[in-house]
Assembly symmetry: C2
Homo-oligomer: 254 residues x 2
């Protein structure tokens, strides 16, 4: 009989934001597959084994985990944030679809988590308070032209935009291009939130107008939220401003 496979979301990085469901799933698993910084967050006990792999080896990692589950081991694939948002759940499904038939018999349990944009939004106010979208800026798996088309469609239709995977050493120019593109569709005063390590001691939240947003403010662990033309900023004395998108919108909104 095959083992179970848990695809676990560990949340944004703060232990207080790991759900009890995720904690139980970690306890129930014997082998763990994931990107090393996520595995390092686990407090494993004797007999639990971590298999670290590189950030970009998602399919081979999923296959390795499915193989061990098929051999009867209870395994976990771990992601930061939520496993279903630009993370391992889709890679596991893809590996199941293309893998041996018996992998379809494996009991797969996805354990949702707090994804980065929710943690960043919480620290900034309520920027996602109205219709919004999430776009990965990585062009490793889709052509850059499609990213630009989506940035246009979303900003022109009045969606707030959360940008995942904004920048990396191998992808240095995409975020600058994205800001440029968005400046063509949105007022220069539109609030942009750079959120890194939200809710952790090393948290860094920066709020700037789109006209002044620079790629240098982000690294690969940053989630960026770009407001719509309706997004507002409330200044406060001695506190970070509150950025929020009202629940209402007028027809003219774009």
């Amino acid at each position: 009989m095959s083992g179970r496979l848990f695809v676990i979301g560990l949340g944004p990085g703060n232990a207080d934001q790991v759900t009890p469901e995720a904690t139980v799933a970690v306890r129930a698993s014997r082998e763990f597959f994931g990107y090393k910084p996520y595995l390092d967050r686990l407090k494993l006990s004797d007999g639990q084994i971590a298999h670290a792999s590189d950030n970009r080896e998602e399919i081979s990692r999923a296959e390795a985990a499915l193989k061990r589950a098929a051999e009867g081991i209870d395994v976990a694939v771990v992601s930061g944030g939520d496993p279903g948002v630009f993370a391992m759940a889709a890679a596991v499904c893809e590996a199941v679809e293309n893998g041996p038939k018996e992998w379809r018999d494996i009991e797969i349990t996805n354990v949702p988590g707090v994804t980065a944009m929710l943690a960043v939004a919480a620290r900034a106010g309520a920027p996602l308070g109205h219709d919004f979208c999430a776009i990965s800026l990585s062009d490793n798996l889709k052509p850059w032209g499609l990213v630009e088309r989506r940035l246009d469609a979303a900003s022109q239709a009045g969606f707030v935009i959360a940008l995942y995977n904004p920048i990396s050493k191998a992808r240095p120019w995409q975020l600058g291009k994205a800001f440029e593109r968005l400046r063509g569709n949105l007022p220069a005063s539109t609030p942009v939130i750079f959120g890194r390590a939200a809710g952790r001691p090393d948290e860094r939240i920066e709020i700037v107008p789109l006209g002044q947003a620079r790629p240098e403010s982000a690294d690969m662990a940053t989630c960026i939220i770009v407001g719509s033309s309706e997004t507002r900023t409330i200044e406060r004395t001695g506190r970070r401003p509150l950025v929020y998108t009202p629940r209402y919108a007028a027809e003219a909104s774009r």
Copy 2:
């Protein structure tokens, strides 16, 4: 000195999906403001007081909580899911902006949670595995024409779409109209997931092709995920199919 105000996300409804951070914030609060079904989830102790209000009284609820916080009481405004996604965080910001100046001095802490689309996606596979958006179908606060424009923009640009607030007694026709609109832009075979009470004992997950999606499958507590033209279904014997959107996309994707 004013009290603190917590805006707490209780997750989709399963106690195992409430973060420890939310549990701590509940313990720290003395008065609670929210829609009754959410307040009913709390296990309050003596001396903690719940003020229930109706679903549509968001601004007056936010004002009542801010008033008590300004009087020195530690208060909590509770939402299901995540408070920043079509929930109370934006209403609290709006009340702060339009309220007395001293409300800007109140320490406001948003506690993020697992929002409905993440819980539903987890149970279905990985439908949100690629770029996606979230749209509230309620036209109480925005004109219906804008909703249709956003449905078109998102489906034509290849976003997976999560629909919040799909239907209610006062808004019976909007969901049918939305499906009709989406059928104009997407193949009839596009998977649609109706998710209700995801992760709870009374969970109901229904997966149908867009061509057969009917508003009767939803109620006001349902979150609906409509795939893109890239979203795939993996059939499994004796298990629910896995619905996922691949991490990659080709230029032609729409």
